[in-house]
């Protein structure tokens, strides 16, 4: 009887230990994703999550990294709030198995979060964070796969006034790190033309994000009679702005920054008002010519029915890919090794959004911009 009991205990212990032993060799490599899963940018967060899942799935289908280990994405929600962003980052760095993090949409969320990652020495790659100053802080572990606002501002100054034959330009931002940054950068890029007197900046002001009623600033905008109106903010406000502006009789063309227009914008504003709205943007997923992009988008479409309607989720996928690539090439999950490798040895690695390489500051090298427009059917296409 006693022997039976002992056997039972040994058996139980073995049962508990066995699976551990079996999986220890193939323990997945965990990469964090911090994104706005809830809150005002939930749509972007959802797409980023799906993109990272697809990216991981594609890596795993090809046999994983480090000789057969799978890649696992661990999502934390930052709700699109700076405060929650810092908490989310703390949560990720607190988990020992998280190697590095794809961190977030929204420059003002990234700013406090990247401080935490820096402090706890975790590589973090921003995917929808374009404010110039993020890479001016001499951070060792922060990178980004997306472009910078100053290149977008320059693109606006070079192309938009000519296209519309506009003399009187209005710029409206939303006081966030991204919106204000892009507005300032655009103003800076317009400066030679302003000095030469070929264009006039007749309106430069902010709206409050999260508000629903913009009748007051829009009435002021209408009284200034702009030829073109540039809004550097996010799609939730952009949709309300366009709806209310047309309601009170602002008729000039609307040009949004690269966060202003996606399918959600078209849905909220309605096709009637959304059509003919422009945006300056990185190339959208559907317009990417690369082999990796085609493969990724096919897998995405097979699983979720439609491809992402904004460029950011793709940058998130590329951030995940490049982390996995670096881990695989260096054979290490050590943050210092990874950061060194990303900074110095990643150059022209084929990615979904084109060849990936980082500058000494951690910026992505070479991101092109296009002018997009919403067409009759509510699709976002390159403006001719």
């Amino acid at each position: 009887m006693k022997i039976m009991k002992h056997l039972l205990i040994v058996g139980i212990i073995l049962c508990v230990l066995m699976p551990f032993n079996a999986t220890a060799a193939e323990k997945p490599v965990v990469i964090g994703l911090q994104g706005p899963i809830t809150g005002p940018w939930a749509y972007e967060g959802e797409m980023a999550k799906q993109s990272c899942e697809i990216a991981a799935q594609l890596i795993n289908e090809k046999g994983g990294i480090l000789g057969g280990r799978m890649v696992e994405v661990r999502v934390v929600d930052d709700a699109g709030e700076p405060k929650t962003g810092a908490l989310a980052a703390t949560k990720l760095v607190g988990q020992k198995d998280v190697v590095a993090s794809v961190s977030t949409y929204g420059s003002s969320i990234c700013e406090p979060a990247s401080n935490i990652y820096e402090k706890f020495k975790k590589v973090n790659i921003g995917y929808g964070v374009t404010a110039v100053r993020l890479t001016q802080r001499d951070f060792k572990y922060f990178f980004r796969t997306c472009g910078r606002d100053d290149s977008q501002g320059k693109f606006f100054a070079d192309s938009v006034p000519q296209k519309f034959g506009a003399k009187k330009i209005a710029i409206m931002h939303d006081n966030t790190a991204f919106g204000k940054g892009l507005a300032e950068d655009t103003k800076g890029a317009l400066k030679p033309m302003l000095d030469a007197g070929t264009v006039e900046l007749i309106y430069f002001d902010a709206i409050t994000p999260g508000e629903k009623d913009f009748h007051v600033p829009l009435t002021q905008l209408r009284e200034k009679k702009p030829d073109v109106w540039y809004f550097t903010g996010y799609y939730a406000e952009a949709a309300l702005l366009v709806t209310q502006a047309r309601e009170i009789g602002v008729t000039c063309p609307f040009v949004g920054g690269n966060a202003a227009i996606n399918n959600e914008f078209v849905k909220i504003a309605g096709i009637d008002l959304a059509k003919g709205c422009y945006m300056t943007n990185e190339p959208l997923p559907a317009d990417l010519p690369y082999k990796e992009a085609k493969e990724f988008l096919k897998a995405y479409k097979d699983k979720f029915g439609e491809i992402p309607s904004s460029p950011w989720p793709i940058y998130a996928a590329d951030a995940l890919n490049i982390i996995a690539y670096a881990i695989d090439k260096t054979g290490s999950v050590d943050s210092d090794v990874l950061a060194e490798y990303l900074r110095n040895d990643v150059n022209g690695v084929p990615g979904i959004t084109g060849p990936i390489g980082f500058t000494a500051q951690g910026d992505r090298e070479g991101v092109p911009f296009y002018l997009y427009v919403v067409d009759e059917n509510g699709n976002i296409v390159i403006s001719k």
Partner: protein, 303 residues
Amino acid sequence: MQVVFEQIINGLTIGSFYALIALGYSMVYGVLKLINFAHGDFFTLGSYLGYTLLVFGSAFITTHFGLWGGMVAAMLMAAMCLAFIGVLVERAAYRPIYPAGRLPAVVSALGASIVLQNAIMVIWGPRYQAYPAKLIPNIHLNIWGINITVLQIVILVLSFVLMGILYYIIQKTVFGAAIRATALDKDTASLMGINFNKVIFFIFTLGPALGAMTGVMVGMYYRQISFTMGWNYGLKAFTATILGGIGNLPGAMFGGLILGVLEMLGAAYISAAWKDVFVFMILILVLIFRPNGLFGEKIAEKV
């Protein structure tokens, strides 16, 4: 000059939203001396229910009732659902802890608010929802150079009708008399044969129903709703309640309208970024000089 009038009309429109929500706060406070933090979420829930009815029932509703009939039908259905939910929340979250005093009830109200907000997020998802675009005709009118939409006129008229009906119910009917009596002195009112629980039932159907109708109107006006919007509107409406004198129904109505207009004018002529500061400055000034609000009656000291 036209611009000033335009801003005032814009202000009256959001002011009437604040006023309708404020009425719900004020009624509950008047009777129970409880700040019902869940009220803002009743409003959000109403907005979402109206959205669901309009999106999924739009073909049916508009063919059977016509365009504006469909809107009113959606509004009424949302109101009825919310009246039911309001009573449910009162039974579950407030009634069991009345004997414990006022402070636990306030905490419970905050809890109810969080539960409702998260329930909305789980059911409809965290994304913004958009009221159907084609359903609401976007007709502009130009009256003496003032730009106004038909929808704004409809909202203003509807709000004033609703406020009128509520005022009539409270001031002229037996129910209203019972509510006013309970608000004045709960114990004496009970001694006079007024059923306290019936009064509570009544205010918890009326308040959320009004909130729900406001929610549908806000949805039609801005076309974009989110599960967290109740907090912001709730806070503003609560401010309106205090501005007008808490527990005083005409006070809540005027408080809301005044708040809306002040907010718009402050944003237009001082600074859009400072408009909330401006609004709360006014509130503080009013409270310094008239601690019971603009229309508040002096409460006699109980000896």
